[in-house]
């Protein structure tokens, strides 16, 4: 149960990795830990890790995704980012 308001993820808006989050690379992708809400989240593919790290360099999340994966995978990665937004691992900027 979280008291935070639900976060809506807009792939056509600018996003970034939260400054409160540490990433640790692992063979499957990475672990992400939010020091504020103490949530541990698994980033389940190396491409997702690259996208998350690169978000701040793109005008929109969709652009960042497009830079790292084939367009057929766009939807799956948008859903993955939406879930990271709900855990406050990434936020709008």
């Amino acid at each position: 149960m979280s008291l935070a308001p639900p976060v809506t993820f807009d792939a056509h808006a600018p996003w970034q990795l939260s400054a409160e989050v540490s990433l640790r690379d692992e063979a499957f992708g990475a672990l992400a830990y939010h020091h504020g809400n103490r949530r541990l989240v698994f980033l389940k593919s190396p491409a997702l890790v690259d996208i998350v790290r690169d978000l701040e360099n793109y005008h929109t999340a969709a652009d960042a995704i497009g830079a790292h994966v084939a367009s057929s995978q766009q939807g799956a990665y948008e859903r993955a980012l939406a879930s990271l937004a709900r855990s406050e691992i990434i936020h709008g900027r």
Partner: protein, 371 residues
């Protein structure tokens, strides 16, 4: 889900660094709980110095271990307790520490409340003094409640109330949840293991099969109750409980004890599960190179559980629970929900239980006034 299984398989092969690192600061304790997993009581003269402790934190930070679970003994007994905690937080390593609460007075509560990235677990073992004190000693329940009052008064925020599940408190689950609610605290329930002094009381205290089924259903309805993934052997009853549902020993979990020894998990303080010492070449070398950890990361042998339809949920249960009840690693968990553990135990009733290697229990009974 397919993706989840892949991830769990990855975890079974081990990670670059642990997710759940427990660090016991001292074997000294002012209490003498009957089920103490580390047989604590007396300080070990060889415990890590303040300098060694802060150097260890620097290494933990460099390995990107995001938080450590600090325990003991009673960690607040160390005079450099706040130095160590504050150093960890300054290095961006979060701290969650377990305490019996006896050292949390109003001033300590204020200091704790002013520290960021700090999480506290206060241990009680029942919803009332009678039940809890039977395990933890006379007067300890009231002391723990006073610590909780101080944390509430200092606006610490949501701390955790940590309870080891026994035959005498499974019936109090709703009362424990109500107590946590009253403090705005989180309830954390963990499994009793026959580790440390727990080996002596396990037969008498571990929940009955029926109680374990009740507990499983209660937990399924309350995904917000924390369990440290400790009841995954009950997932064999049906829908899996929250968590990774695997034995993380040496793969995602490990323990550093007060003298720097690294064990596969907090519940296996025994030579058989000793991977190395941080004083030799640091913690990372032990984590990545120890023979023991490498072998734990090999695919396990399901042994007697191979034909069980629930093996994927339970994976044969807890290594520590098997080892300290005298079972083999390939036997079912002593609390196997299908009763196979009891059968295996009955077949071995020759009492060949290993005793814990380092025993720091006090030789004389403690009196609370000596705190």
């Amino acid at each position: 889900m397919g993706a989840e299984i892949t991830l769990r398989d990855r975890f079974e092969r081990g990670l670059a660094a642990p997710i759940c690192l427990t660090w016991e600061l001292t074997y000294a304790c002012n209490l003498a709980c009957t089920h103490c997993l580390s047989s604590s009581g007396r300080r070990d003269p060889n415990e890590l110095s303040t300098d060694e402790a802060t150097a260890l934190i620097d290494e933990i930070a460099a390995m990107k271990i995001f938080y450590v679970n600090i325990g003991g003994g009673e960690p607040m007994i160390r005079r450099d307790f706040f130095t160590i905690v504050e150093h960890a937080v300054s290095r961006h390593v979060g701290v969650k520490f377990s305490t019996n609460g006896t050292r949390i007075d109003a001033a300590a509560a204020r200091r704790l409340a002013s520290t960021d990235y700090l999480d506290i677990q206060i241990s009680i073992d029942g919803a009332d003094a009678l039940t809890s004190d039977a395990v933890r000693g006379a007067g300890t329940y009231d002391q723990a409640r006073r610590a909780m009052d101080h944390l509430r008064d200092a606006n610490f925020g949501p701390f955790k109330i940590s309870v080891v599940m026994t035959r005498h408190n499974v019936g109090q689950l709703d009362d424990l949840a109500a107590l946590a609610d009253a403090y705005g605290a989180e309830l954390r329930l963990t499994r009793l293991r026959p580790s440390g002094r727990g080996v002596d009381v396990w037969d008498a205290l571990h929940p009955t099969a029926q109680q374990n089924r009740d507990l499983y259903r209660w937990l399924l309805d309350r995904p917000n109750v924390l369990t440290g993934d400790s009841f995954f052997h009950l997932s064999a009853l049906g829908e899996p409980l929250e968590g990774l549902n695997l034995c993380g020993a040496g793969r995602v979990v490990c323990l550093i004890d007060p003298v720097g020894n690294v064990y596969a998990c907090p519940f296996v303080i025994h030579d058989e599960f000793l991977a190395g010492n941080v004083r030799d070449r640091g913690f990372e070398a032990v984590w990545t190179e120890s023979e023991l950890f490498r072998s734990l990361r090999e695919p396990g042998n399901p042994g007697a559980c191979a034909s069980c339809g629930s093996y994927d949920a339970c994976r044969g249960g807890c290594m520590a629970a098997k080892f300290f009840t005298g079972l083999e690693m390939t036997d079912p968990d002593p609390e196997c929900v299908f009763g196979h553990g009891e059968t295996a135990l009955a077949a071995k009733r020759v009492e060949i239980r290993p005793s814990p290697s380092p025993d720091h229990s006090r030789r004389t009974p403690v009196s609370l006034s000596a705190k």
